[in-house]
């Protein structure tokens, strides 16, 4: 098995990574006996053959991925091409105390902020893969917004990976102080290399201070060689708000844990997800809406479409703690199974420990409606286009939640590409 390479033995990052490495060594690999891993197997992944990613196999990032997301320029952009990093941040934002950089630079330039963020993060202890991401993830993103700072222009980071038999570990830390707001888009993508096997392990820890608001958009379009394991936690303080959007199109296999923790009174979280699988993809999203304070609101909508022999799992839980009265929780998962051999599992759940709450959920798995197809065909639209239109329509309510034309366009193209092979 690999061992991590720790840099800068004095820094907080080093300390954090060593703790994570200890956690990694003591934690067992998950297996199908655990509820969360019942439907997703990691057999077939050759961990012992993996090597650390290095700079030898970086490849050029496709121009499409670095195009600005809006007509306006980015407020900042960080591009990780394997181990190579380029960082840009609007000078005005830097002067206001906004930090948007990679972890290595953060360690040198903003050690106190990095220390504050890392000390508050315990996500690495969640399980083997979370610990793996933290122990090996010597790089990643730090986004810090000081008190009373409103960032209008979107901040964008992209992790682009390549190579064969590589481990790509990555971490994202976001910290908004009081009365702050920002829009942050993080993308994971890789060069297609289907005869190979890579491991992408990521950890994301987001903290939103009182009265602050974060728009958080995540897009995953990894290649079919990638086995993708992610642990994400968003913690929302008093009267703060998160609008969290996930789009998943790629990877051979994904196991994602996304936790929304409404820790402050009056906090709100909206989670919108969509996935579209084909071939033999297997995408498993595990969501948790934790109402840990009174008067909190959560609203989750996940939509998925499946082609080929692909498989999806969505398992969602709304948890309402004893003290979290007057909460309002909602979750819905809608799946469109477009092929006989594809399969979607949808498992909603509620765990409510107090009265005076409103929690509802819904889950559906359906096929393409033949009457809808006939109706569109009767207007002269050829069948394959009719079907494409229905699938686009299925995703439209989620697309409307994505605040950038550029991102919407990219995903519409991806839907179109996948539908072309249908």
């Amino acid at each position: 098995m690999l061992a991590p390479v720790f840099t800068d033995s004095q820094g907080e990052l080093n300390k954090y990574q060593r703790q994570a490495w200890e956690a990694f060594k003591s934690l067992p690999f998950p297996d199908n006996s655990q509820e969360a891993w019942k439907r997703t197997s990691i057999r077939g992944m050759h961990l012992n053959k993996l090597q650390l990613a290095d700079s030898h196999n970086n490849s050029k990032i496709p121009a499409e991925l670095t195009k600005p997301l809006t007509d306006d320029l980015h407020g900042g952009e960080i591009l990780f091409n394997g181990t190579q990093v380029t960082i840009e941040l609007d000078e005005k934002l830097a002067k206001q105390g906004v930090v948007f950089t990679d972890l290595q630079h953060a360690q040198k330039d903003h050690p106190e902020i990095l220390a504050k963020v890392l000390k508050a993060s315990t996500t690495y202890s969640e399980d083997k893969f979370a610990a793996l991401a933290a122990a090996f993830g010597s790089n990643g993103v730090l986004l810090y917004i000081p008190k009373n700072v409103i960032v209008e222009k979107p901040l964008h980071s992209l992790l682009w990976t390549s190579g064969e038999g590589k481990l790509h570990a990555f971490q994202v830390f976001v910290f908004l102080e009081e009365n702050a707001s920002a829009t942050f888009v993080h993308e994971s993508a890789s060069a297609e290399n289907k005869d190979s096997q890579n491991l992408h392990a990521a950890l994301m820890d987001v903290k939103i201070g009182p009265n602050s608001k974060l728009n958080f958009v995540e897009l995953q379009s990894l290649g079919s060689q990638d086995w993708n394991f992610t642990h994400e936690k968003v913690s929302v303080d008093q009267d703060a708000e998160v609008d969290w959007i996930f789009g998943a199109l790629g990877s051979h296999l994904t196991k994602n844990f996304s936790d929304l923790n409404l820790v402050g009174r009056g906090s709100t979280g909206k989670m919108s997800g969509f996935f579209f699988t084909n071939g033999n993809q297997h995408l498993d999203h595990d969501t948790q809406q934790n109402h840990l304070a009174p008067n909190t609101t959560s609203d989750l909508l996940f939509k998925g479409a499946l082609l080929g022999e692909s498989r999806s799992v969505w398992q969602g839980m709304i948890y309402v703690a004893e003290n979290a009265s007057k909460t309002d929780g909602y979750q819905a998962n809608r799946n469109l199974v477009l092929s006989e051999k594809a399969r979607a599992d949808s498992i909603p759940g509620l765990e409510i420990l107090t009265d005076d709450v409103r929690c509802t959920h819904g889950a559906t798995v359906g096929k393409l409606d033949t009457d809808q197809v006939f109706y569109l065909e009767s207007r002269g639209i050829p069948r394959n286009e009719a079907e494409k239109l229905i699938v686009e329509g299925f995703f439209d309510p989620i697309m409307q939640r994505i605040p950038f034309e550029g991102v919407r366009k990219r995903f519409q193209n991806a839907i179109e590409q996948k539908m072309n092979e249908y």
Partner: protein
């Protein structure tokens, strides 16, 4: 001139024969009304002509503009100039009226010229707004998801809007009058009449005389037991309104003329 020609059409659904030999000839510019009680095969005829996969043609033939209609796919029938206004229009969540109709217009252009890049958005918008104004539809209608949450009247109006945009040569209106109040009926009928003045042929399926007050038929057919048993002028519909179908039932048991 376009002509829809139906010869001895026999059709079944789920193993049960519903149409027992329909003969009908509709020319461009003519309005034919088909009347008859429930369950006599009027909607089956409409769906079969459009090509719904649940209906199986056992025998007979249908030609449209000289082509064998039954050999064509649903979308090809539409592009050839046939239109069906649905009795129960299907809702398509997430697809706006404008996006849907632009896709339909572009499918037509592309079939004529594979290199076509599609109608320019401003040009399409102008076309759509013109047609909507005729049908007294608010411009916000274009941005709504197709038939999603539409009232009965809005759905029927949307059907006629689609017809106005796609400009078919022969249109089948399957109980387009059902669920409409008097005002909506008048507006929808005016829309149809406008197209009629542009030389469309109409096959109008209805239970009632009332739509025929607005859209004057050239020929009225009575369908019973899966065949057309009587044909006549506009006065036949008035006669039915007054006397009901009992006299037809007495004359034709299960669609077979008792006299022959």
């Amino acid at each position: 001139m376009s002509e829809l020609n139906i010869r001895d059409l026999k059709v079944s659904i789920e193993g049960k024969q519903i149409l027992n030999g329909v003969n009908l000839n509709v020319k461009q510019g003519e309005v034919h009304a088909i009347m008859g009680p429930n369950g006599t095969g009027k909607s089956t005829l409409a769906y079969t002509l459009m090509g719904h996969p649940s209906y199986l043609v056992n025998s007979g033939e249908v030609t449209f503009k000289g082509q064998n209609l039954l050999d064509l796919a649903v979308d090809e029938r539409s592009r050839l100039g046939l239109f069906l206004a649905f009795q129960y229009p299907v809702s398509i969540p997430g697809v706006t009226v404008a996006n849907f109709l632009r896709t339909a217009v572009n499918a037509r252009r592309k079939a004529l010229n594979p290199e076509d890049k599609g109608i320019a958005i401003p040009e399409f918008r102008k076309l759509l707004m013109e047609k909507m104004a005729v049908l007294k539809m608010d411009s916000s209608f274009a941005g709504r998801y197709l038939n999603e949450g539409f009232s009965g009247g809005e759905k029927k109006r949307a059907e006629v809007l689609q017809m106005a945009v796609l400009q078919p040569e022969i249109a089948i209106l399957d109980e387009t009058d059902s669920g409409l109040d008097i005002d909506a009926l008048r507006i929808v009928s005016e829309g149809v009449n406008l197209l009629r003045s542009q030389n469309i042929g109409v096959l109008l399926i209805t239970h009632y005389q009332r739509m025929l007050n607005y859209i004057k038929p050239d020929v009225v057919h009575i369908m019973m037991g899966g065949t057309i048993v009587e044909s006549g002028g506009a006065e036949l519909a008035l006669h039915l309104e007054e006397h009901g179908y009992d006299w037809v039932r007495e004359k034709y048991e299960n669609g077979v003329p008792s006299a022959s």
